[in-house]
């Protein structure tokens, strides 16, 4: 077989673009400066299509596809920002805000939160659903970090960063549906788990669910940009 790259041509938002076979719609869109909102996707990690914010419309199909995992095909016509999609995205965000406890004003990630920013970008003005306000545990047993399950949106970035980048796989998900929570090891306290204390999970967490102890609000920016660089350096070795 030939090693030549198979090129696909497609249209995204009325713009003709070309892509390599096997590329995701999201990849191609971002290469062409077309913005598709995401929360669970992070450059350097595998994709799981969990948050559904990147749903796009494909001409000829009634089904919406998550751009982070849907691959391109020849002649595909993609719309990334229709009224229908905007409505869905706002609804998804409303459900994320209502599911646990996201009171920005007193959150450690206020001003540095991807969920908060996404709400602003998508024009979310209010939440029509009743807040569930579950009383979930705050695990502060780790010497450096804290996990506040009340702020978690189950994007599983921490799980993937720990397994794929750090190679420790301390984080995973327990339970099903709305009862799911992220856990360390076999649901042990973080402080007594096999955590390597690398802090990658904290840096990739989009909200205030994972944070450095003693840091609050304005002094808690996160820097997840190191992941592609780490991957690159490892591949080079």
């Amino acid at each position: 077989m030939s090693d030549a790259v198979e090129v696909k041509t497609l249209i995204i938002d009325e713009q003709e673009v070309s892509a390599r076979r096997g590329q995701t719609i999201l990849d191609v869109a971002r290469e062409n400066d077309i913005n598709i909102p995401t929360l669970c996707h992070l450059e350097g990690l595998s994709d799981v299509g969990a948050c559904r914010l990147c749903l796009v419309e494909i001409k000829g199909s009634n089904k919406l596809l998550p751009a982070c995992v849907a691959t391109v095909f020849e002649g595909m016509e993609v719309s990334t920002n229709t009224e229908r999609l905007q409505k869905h995205r706002r609804m998804i965000l409303e459900m994320l805000f209502a599911e646990r406890n996201h009171i920005c004003a007193v959150c450690v990630s206020n001003g540095h939160c991807e969920l908060q920013t996404m709400g602003q970008e998508q024009g979310l003005t209010h939440i029509r659903l009743p807040y569930r306000n579950p009383s979930l545990n705050v695990d502060a047993s780790h010497e450096r970090f804290t996990v506040d399950h009340n702020r978690c949106i189950l994007c599983t970035r921490c799980v993937r960063a720990c397994a794929e980048i750090e190679g420790a796989h301390v984080w995973d998900v327990m339970g099903r549906g709305i009862n799911s929570i992220v856990i360390t090891d076999l649901h042990e306290e973080w402080g007594s788990s096999t955590c390597t204390r690398c802090g990658k999970c904290v840096q990739v967490c989009p909200t205030g669910a994972l944070f450095d102890k003693s840091k609050v609000g304005t002094d808690h920016p996160k820097n997840p940009d190191f992941l592609p660089y780490l991957n690159l350096m490892r591949e080079a070795q």
Partner: protein, 473 residues
């Protein structure tokens, strides 16, 4: 037949309150109560949160003096961490606290009380507000707005936000002061001085007209509590508490935040959600006292800044001992505002004020910690307990309005006895009863750590509980 008068809501206050005046069969005032009718539960819902979230969480109690809660909370957290914050951080926080005191005092004097003082207690209620003041005395209206802006803008420059700045954190502050911001604050000072001097002049010109009010506005001997420095000068952010008796003799001195609960207790009355704070060795209610500007100026021997020192000396001429009428809270407030501006200027000349080292870090080194400061309205204490992971297990806040609660109730009774005659009251009389509460400048949302709305109702209630007359606002 006895009657009850209800004033509900009490207006021009921070928060919502209600006054009830009980009359006997002869139409004489038998009792009067000031009710705070909300409960919010901040102490309860903070349980389980990491302790270092507490400053930002507690600041949300109030939009008027979030800075007080921020600093008291941060100090309690620092007691848990067992750290001493850097000198520059302490100075910057002191400046933030003073800026808030100046803006809060400006709000109390100009926006809430000057309508009574400048337009008259009996003036038309339709115009008895800050806009009425601005129409009658545009210079004073502008001065009030200007002085408030001065304090608020300093808070914004330091903490990036006028309300609920996230800049104060356990261990210090997040950012050092930029030279450009220092220069901007320095440039605002001349106007601030002019505004507060204008207010002092105006107050002194009209104070004599209020002899009747001075005589019955919570005018009684009481104990007084407040922070004081080692040199017996006024202090808002550090220092220790001193309690004096009605003659000015020291009852107890050097009460640190750690010893606060040994000395200070909280009683509960069925008619109000705000607790009644008292000095434990004297018991309740004998151990009640007053806090805030009146109390602070009764306690201290000096102010420590030149212009305010002169005003303080003049103020002290009002009495040879402690000044007793709560009407003089207004005067004391203006002296303190002047002190605040002078002290801010002094802090800005500190050679280390631009130093970059503004934060100490530590984990949980003690399972309990307390912090105390002077909020504009009086002493504020935060007391926390945490588990070994730093999660809150218990919190107690003792706020200025709780300290003053007993005095406010006694003051309302005293004023009601003077102004309610034969079971009847005029609008002006009702306003005077409210004005007693305004002198204390209570913050009711703060005192109950409460939420919700409560309109103010003044009720006249008969001995058999029947409401004879009522004014609802």
């Amino acid at each position: 037949m006895s009657q009850t008068i209800t004033i509900d809501p009490v207006t021009r206050l921070e928060g919502h309150g209600k006054i009830t005046i009980h009359l006997n069969g002869q139409g004489e005032v038998e009792d009067a109560q000031f009710h705070v009718t909300q409960v919010r539960g901040f102490e309860k819902f903070s349980e389980g949160r990491p302790f270092y979230e507490m400053p930002s969480l507690m600041a949300r109690i109030c939009g008027i003096c979030p800075v007080s809660h921020l600093i008291a909370s941060a100090k309690a957290c620092e007691a848990i961490m067992s750290v001493r914050i850097p000198h520059t951080a302490a100075q910057l926080r002191r400046m933030l606290n003073l800026a808030q005191m100046v803006q809060s005092h400006a709000l109390s004097f100009f926006h809430l009380s000057s309508p009574d003082l400048l337009l008259g207690m009996d003036s038309d209620p339709a115009h008895r507000h800050i806009f009425g003041v601005a129409a009658a005395r545009p210079d004073l209206g502008l001065a009030g707005i200007g002085l408030r802006r001065f304090g608020q803008h300093i808070i914004e420059l330091l903490g990036d936000k006028r309300i609920h700045p996230g800049w104060v954190v356990p261990g210090g502050v997040t950012e050092p002061l930029a030279p450009s911001k220092r220069d901007e604050i320095l440039a605002m000072l001349p106007e601030a001085y002019a505004n507060v001097q204008l207010a002092l002049t105006a107050y002194k010109q009209i104070a004599d007209r209020f002899q009747q009010e001075i005589s019955v506005f919570a005018n009684f001997p009481s104990n007084y509590l407040g922070l004081i420095n080692d040199d017996e000068s006024i202090e808002f952010t550090d220092g220790t508490l001193r309690l004096i008796d009605p003659k000015g003799e020291i009852i107890e001195d050097g009460i640190t935040a750690n010893r606060f609960t040994e000395a200070i207790g909280e009683a509960v009355e069925p008619f109000s959600y705000t607790k009644f704070v008292y000095y434990k060795p004297l018991g309740y209610p004998q151990g009640s006292y007053r806090v805030g500007p009146l109390a602070r100026l009764n306690i201290v021997k000096s102010i420590g800044t030149p212009l305010a020192e002169k005003e303080f000396a003049e103020y002290k001429q009002l009495s040879s001992g402690p000044i007793e009428s709560s009407f003089f809270y207004h005067h004391a407030r203006l002296v303190e505002a002047l002190y605040g501006i002078e002290k801010i200027e002094e802090i800005l000349t500190d050679p280390l004020i631009l130093d970059k080292h503004v934060r100490a870090t530590a984990g949980v080194n003690r399972l309990e910690g307390a912090g105390q400061i002077e909020a504009p309205r009086g002493t504020l204490s935060h007391h926390y307990k945490v588990d070994e992971n730093g999660k809150m297990t218990w919190a107690n806040l003792v706020v200025a309005t709780g300290h003053n609660n007993n005095a406010m109730n006694k003051g309302v009774l005293q004023a009601a006895r003077s102004y309610v005659k034969d079971g009847k009251f005029t609008e002006g009389a009702l306003n005077r009863v409210e004005a007693v509460i305004r002198t204390f400048d209570p913050c009711l949302s703060c005192s109950t750590h409460a939420f919700g709305q409560m309109p103010l109702v003044l009720s006249l209630v008969s001995p058999d509980g029947e409401i004879v007359d009522q004014v609802v606002r």
